[in-house]
């Protein structure tokens, strides 16, 4: 296994864990995960770019309670692996598209893990109600190891798919360019929808509007 592949697997596992089970210091944010993955592959710009576009989708996520949401950390690693050291105009759409698929797979895997955790808790209910500390620790560690397995599996799947997309089945130019337009446009729309959802119902729309005006000025000037 190459050093780069090993590092990407490790990084993908770390960011996968950080989403829920780990310290949640937000290295799982796609623009963080993607940039670091790009750096591993010697193309920071590509990693940062795909990570930034995936971040637009992540801005619409509200990880409250039992909500299900995509795992954009390993998704950004897979996207960076697809786009690194390739012409960005051609690689962007397929890379982010793959990232979205991996993110969705990560979401499904997380749901299954939570169900597995629930079954484990249910089986250990008698010991837990008896205050058995060893069983409590075992149940908790089961969840952590399970999430580690989930993260490394999703990352491995993403890296495998990235290799296939780059080397075995690169999409034709027309599709790749169209894919780029779609993932960027829908990403912007998703982030905008998320911004309205966060602020609209709480009377902060005026602040959002002020920010948009300032952002438009900034966009025109830069």
């Amino acid at each position: 296994m190459s050093t780069e592949l090993a590092l990407l697997l490790l990084w993908g596992t770390v960011v996968g864990l950080d989403l829920v089970s780990g310290p949640q210091v937000m290295v799982a944010r796609p623009f963080v995960a993607g940039t670091v993955a790009g750096a591993v592959l010697g193309d920071v710009a590509a990693g940062a770019t795909v990570g930034a576009i995936l971040e637009l989708y992540a801005l619409d996520v509200l990880p409250v309670g039992a909500a299900r949401y995509p795992d954009y950390g390993p998704a950004a690693v897979a996207a960076a692996a697809t786009a690194a050291n390739a012409p960005l105009a051609m690689a962007l759409g397929p890379a982010v598209g793959l990232g979205l698929v991996i993110g969705w797979i990560g979401e499904v895997a997380m749901h299954q893990l939570r169900r597995a955790n629930a079954r484990r808790v249910h089986r250990a209910a008698t010991e837990l109600e008896a205050g058995d500390a060893a069983v409590l620790r075992r149940v908790h560690w089961f969840g952590l190891w399970g999430d580690m397995l989930r993260s490394v599996t999703v990352t491995g799947l993403g890296l495998g798919a990235a290799f296939a997309l780059r080397e075995l089945a690169p999409p034709p130019m027309r599709l790749a360019v169209l894919a780029g337009v779609v993932v960027v446009a829908v990403g912007i729309a998703t982030a905008a929808g998320g911004a309205f959802r966060l602020t609209g119902s709480r009377g902060a729309v005026s602040w959002l509007a002020a920010g948009v005006v300032a952002g438009l000025v900034l966009a025109v000037l830069t």
């Binding site: 949640q24 210091v25 940039t35 058995d132 337009v181 002020a210 438009l216």
Partner: protein
């Protein structure tokens, strides 16, 4: 340190309860010598029951419950304390962090990344975000332990109340500032001569995900459009 893995065993049955029990365990250990093995086991069982809160704010519950148990508070009062904490620790954390500080700092980081300074953007985001994150985790544990049953006073602190009122404004301002800049950057990236195509698709996507099919979400819409595009490419190469 255990608080940093509080959600590792999250499940649909006890939510974050097992994690709270795991994090509380070291603080309950002295109960073995203070009140005997049975009291220790009973306290640990209570600590690991159903609980649902924002992960950072569980530190308030861990500190408060451990203190209540060590002070010999009757079990039914400890249970009531846990039940009373679920709603505020959940809603406060969601509003302050998930819907406030996180999108605000992420928007700032994103702005710096698209401006061509990815490492500065990442550093700014991680430092800003985690300064607040760690303050909640550590402050919550210390405050909960110090106040025990009176932990509600810690939750009513002026700084937290101010934060709750300022969070949506801060998030709105930061997101609003970032959106046009990132939109322009993205459009120039994929369609430098046809930014209008991005605008049209984006407007349609916004309408679909906001009004027509809000349950669909951006990710699924993008995947659906990409799938249609791939099928069309196969049928009409």
């Amino acid at each position: 340190m255990r608080l940093f893995t509080v959600q590792a065993s999250w499940n649909y049955e006890r939510m974050v309860g097992i994690g709270v029990g795991f994090a509380t365990e070291p603080l309950l250990e002295p109960l073995r010598d203070e009140r005997g093995d049975e009291a220790h086991r009973a306290a640990l069982a209570r600590a690991a029951r159903y609980f649902n809160a924002h992960p950072y704010f569980t530190s308030f519950a861990v500190g408060a419950q451990a203190r209540a148990e060590r002070d010999g508070v009757p079990p039914h009062q400890v249970e009531r304390l846990r039940q009373a904490l679920v709603a505020p620790l959940g809603s406060m954390g969601d509003r302050l962090v998930w819907a406030g500080w996180l999108p605000a700092t992420a928007a700032i980081g994103l702005l710096l990344v698209v401006a061509g300074h990815p490492w500065i953007g990442i550093a700014a985001f991680l430092l800003l975000y985690n300064a607040f994150h760690l303050a909640i985790r550590i402050g919550g544990l210390v405050g909960g332990w110090r106040l025990g049953l009176d932990v509600g006073r810690a939750l009513g602190r002026r700084e937290l109340r101010w934060g709750l009122s300022a969070a949506p404004a801060f998030a709105g301002l930061a997101l609003g500032l970032a959106l046009p800049v990132v939109a322009r950057w993205g459009a120039m990236l994929v369609a430098p001569g046809a930014w209008w195509a991005v605008a049209v698709v984006g407007a349609a996507a916004f309408a679909v995900t906001r009004w027509f099919l809000p349950a669909l979400g951006g990710l699924r819409l993008a995947l659906a459009l990409l799938t249609i595009g791939a099928i069309a490419e196969v049928l009409w190469p």
